[in-house]
């Protein structure tokens, strides 16, 4: 066992960047208020990063503390400033927010704040449009797998996510191979040699008695692999 009471882990988090093209406290507050009223759920404690790089800070005077307090009043949790050369270091320190380097912020996509779908972009599913032949192996790393043809006997298809087979499954299908026990396997004709989800598997011996040569789905429940008709 580890004696440390904490672990330091790296992680990638999607947040919003509040990018200013102009600033005066009154206008900002009014505009933010309108925005929040249009979708109040969206702005409940949403973390944001403040980006002032488009402002000429020598000309436009920004009171950092005031800016932060306006944000917080309207439900935005300011977490950091994006680094720009003109930032006032003393005020920055006083504000207590972190400073994010240009690199850490990466490329930002312009987001319409009313569109909530962009928060976590889905990882692209791997699509195979040819039959998977005997001896071939297909692995969808970190995503779902869709096969429009059949999986032949002696072929093996694997995915970290779900597997969908629109032809006949005659070979082996292994879903959730890195431990995802919620993964499922769907096929429009079940003649599988072996089916496995998160390490729990069934062989054709036991499959032949249930939903054989029919559309089927496989899923884990109470650590047991179940088959049900589709």
């Amino acid at each position: 066992m580890n004696d440390d009471c904490f672990l330091l882990k790296g992680s990638v988090i999607t947040t919003f960047i509040l990018e200013f093209s102009d600033y005066n406290a009154q206008d900002f507050e009014q505009q933010l208020k309108d925005k929040v009223q249009s979708s109040p759920d969206f702005f409940s404690d949403t973390p944001v990063i403040i980006n002032l790089e488009k402002l000429d800070l020598d000309v436009i005077n920004v009171d950092y503390l005031k800016l932060i307090s306006i944000c917080r009043q309207h439900g935005l949790q300011t977490v950091a400033f994006k680094q720009t050369p003109q930032l006032n270091q003393a005020e920055l320190k006083e504000s207590g927010l972190a400073l994010l380097s240009q690199k850490a912020c990466g490329k930002s996509a312009t987001t319409n704040t009313t569109n909530e779908n962009n928060i976590t972009p889905a990882k692209k599913t791997r699509l195979i449009t040819k039959p998977v032949r005997s001896g071939q192996q297909v692995y969808a790393e970190g995503c779902d797998l869709i096969i429009t043809g059949s999986v032949s006997g002696g072929a093996e298809v694997l995915a970290d996510g779900n597997i969908h087979i629109y032809g006949t499954l005659r070979g082996r299908a292994l879903a959730g191979v890195n431990g995802d026990t919620d993964a499922r396997i769907f096929c429009s004709n079940n003649e599988a040699e072996l089916v496995s989800i998160g390490g729990h598997f069934l062989l054709s011996d036991s499959l032949e008695t249930q939903v054989w040569k029919l559309p089927a789905q496989f899923y884990l429940q109470d650590e047991t692999l179940h088959v049900s008709p589709l």
């Binding site: 040819k130 039959p131 032949r133 005997s134 001896g135 071939q136 043809g149 059949s150 032949s152 006997g153 002696g154 072929a155 006949t168 005659r170």
Partner: protein, 269 residues
């Protein structure tokens, strides 16, 4: 430019050489200048099936090693003009083949021939890989039984991943299914896979169905490709396959068991 067609199967003994001989002969009979190359180095058989075993002087490996030229090596068929045979070496093994050597020979043959038929050895190793690597089209010979179907499936996977066309991202190799040793009576009795079963598993277009026939064995032993014998079902079926290969649309024959007449039924024969 010649069209390069590989006759392959994965499994041995399903009728690759018989098919190469029959299809090659059929193409030549239709007026195409055709050469059949035996890729089965060390297990030379094509010369026997073609009945030219006594005329083999030089072979494929000699050409690859620049020990003989094409004209010295190619054996002209005695029955059909436009038909030539390139025999394999019987004293060497598959390692005698090199990718560059095979490519050079195929390029040279391409200049004068219309069709190059590559008779592949069984297996999925070097010899089979060489035979299919440069192919434009593939005839996958399959018997109606599960192990042959699985091996054909495997070789189809290799065609899609390890052929020149697959590696260079060109148009995929055109695949044809040729079902040999088909016996409709045994299919009806459930002892053999049906055409539909095999088509469903392999999912490639059907080029022909050759019925199981004593004529095939006889033709092999006599060194005369079975396609010459148009009195037999197998000969007719190979002719149909050649026509389909050349783009004609022809209905499939010999798929159903002959119906028993009322007399036979009464006798119970």
């Amino acid at each position: 430019m010649a069209k390069i067609i590989v006759v392959t199967s994965g499994k041995g003994g399903v009728g690759k050489t018989t098919t190469s001989a029959a299809i090659g002969t059929g193409l030549a009979l239709a007026g195409n200048k055709t050469v059949i190359i035996d890729f089965d180095v060390g297990l030379r058989n094509l010369d026997l099936i073609m009945g030219c075993e006594r005329r083999v002087v030089y072979d494929f490996v000699n050409v690859i090693n620049n020990e003989a030229n094409l004209n010295q090596t190619l054996i002209k068929d005695k029955r059909v003009k436009n038909l030539f045979i390139m025999p394999a070496s019987q004293t060497r093994d598959k390692d005698a083949l090199t990718m560059e050597g095979v490519e050079k020979v195929l390029e040279e043959l391409s200049e004068t021939f219309d069709f190059i038929i590559c008779d592949s050895p069984a297996g999925i190793e070097k010899g089979a890989h060489m035979a299919l690597y440069f192919a434009d089209e593939a005839i996958v010979v399959t018997n109606p039984e599960v192990s042959s179907v699985r091996d054909s499936d495997r070789i189809l996977g290799i065609l899609q991943s390890k052929s020149k066309r697959a590696e260079q991202g060109g148009e995929p190799v055109k695949e044809h299914l040729l079902l040999t040793r088909y016996n409709p009576v045994r299919v009806e009795e459930g002892e053999m896979l049906s055409v539909t079963d095999v088509e469903e598993i392999l999912a490639i277009p059907l080029l022909g169905v050759i019925p199981e026939s004593e004529a095939v064995l006889k033709a092999s032993n006599q060194g005369e490709p079975v396609i010459h014998n148009q009195d037999t079902d197998a000969g007719k079926a190979y002719s149909d396959a050649v026509k389909r290969l050349l783009g004609e649309e022809i209905a499939f024959r010999f798929l159903d068991a002959p119906k028993k007449g009322i007399l036979k039924r009464l006798i119970g024969a």
